[in-house]
């Protein structure tokens, strides 16, 4: 059996248990989700999926249109540049944040050519300089570090015009 750690409160001799509840999880990305992640890894390209009926482009791609419930298969390229729709700055570190260190800036970016917002992080920017509507650009990891994960995109950085 694994050994436990326990804290004993001073003066009262009471037990406090630091628990470590790990939740390892694996899920399949699916047909179009896999293609999206493979494109990120191999070609540094962000793919969307188009519904020809509703003329909507979803990023990240999904297999069913949310309006007409039609099956989607037409992958299209979208730009790695986009417009910041909204953001949130998190100064409090949590064990579930996707990257180390704080602050973590989460943002929703509407990429050029897409009709949906894409949730990711923002970097190389002072939180005070953030502005809704600002232009941002995806920064990818180096080829060796890309592993077909959504974090193959490091973050979005402001695009200097």
């Amino acid at each position: 059996m694994t050994e436990r750690t326990v804290e004993i409160l001073e003066d009262s001799d009471r037990f406090v248990f630091p628990w470590q509840l790990a939740i390892p999880n694996t899920y399949p990305a699916g047909v179009v989700g896999s293609k999206f992640l493979i494109e990120l890894r191999d070609n540094k390209k962000i793919k969307g999926i188009k519904c020809p009926e509703c003329n909507q482009v979803y990023v990240p791609p999904r297999s069913t249109c949310k309006y007409c419930f039609g099956e989607l298969s037409e992958l299209v390229d979208v730009s790695d540049k986009g417009t910041l729709v909204t953001y949130a700055v998190s100064y409090e570190p949590t064990p579930v944040q996707p990257v180390e260190g704080t602050p973590v800036i989460y943002g929703i970016v509407k990429l050029d050519g897409a009709d949906t917002g894409f949730v990711h992080m923002l970097g190389e920017v002072d939180p005070k300089q953030l502005e809704i509507g600002m232009r941002v650009k995806a920064v990818f990891k180096t080829k060796k570090k890309r592993v077909a994960s959504i974090l193959d995109i490091k973050y979005f950085k402001p695009l200097k015009i």
Partner: protein, 160 residues
């Protein structure tokens, strides 16, 4: 289509630790201290309904009144009421890892008190497990102080 290479499918894995702390409180800590220092089970008898409160708690689970200060020693022998056989080690949320050994879990009716407690059994052969079998707690000799289900390794079958 037939010559097209099979698509690669991606598995998204993540491992998110959820660390947190919980305090055992006054009554449970007393039980844990007795386990650690004296290798015995103690609990409180409710001052109102005169029944054993298990696990020891400031409020009696039966009558919902303050259970008082009448601490008594409880036998670490008992009879198996029911059991569950497991083929894999259980998860220990204290450390975020799986236990190294699998053990059957059983509800044990401790002697001379109305305490039913779910604990591990030493006997792994499921053909030898049966309701009503007599068991006794096996205490950890070294490194006690990790709580009740840590200090008691498992319950061992005894002949009586």
């Amino acid at each position: 289509m037939a010559n097209e290479p099979a698509q690669e499918y991606i598995q998204v894995t993540y491992k998110k630790p959820r660390p947190y702390r919980w305090a055992a409180g006054e009554y449970l800590s007393r039980l844990y201290r007795e386990c650690r220092d004296n290798k015995r089970l103690m609990t409180v008898k409710c001052q109102h309904c005169n029944e054993h409160v298990w696990p020891p708690s400031k409020v009696c689970g039966r009558c919902k009144k303050p259970s008082g200060d009448n601490w008594v020693v409880v036998s670490d022998k008992g009879s198996v009421v029911q059991f569950t056989y497991t083929n894999f080690p259980m998860f220990d949320p204290h450390v975020g890892k799986y236990m190294t050994e699998e053990h059957p879990f059983a509800t044990i009716d401790l002697d001379d008190c109305e305490i039913y407690w779910v604990a591990k059994l030493e006997e792994k052969d499921k053909d030898k497990l049966k309701p009503g079998m007599r068991v006794q707690a096996v205490w950890r000799e070294e490194g006690r102080g990790g709580g009740l289900d840590h200090d008691i390794l498992y319950f061992r079958t005894i002949e009586e």
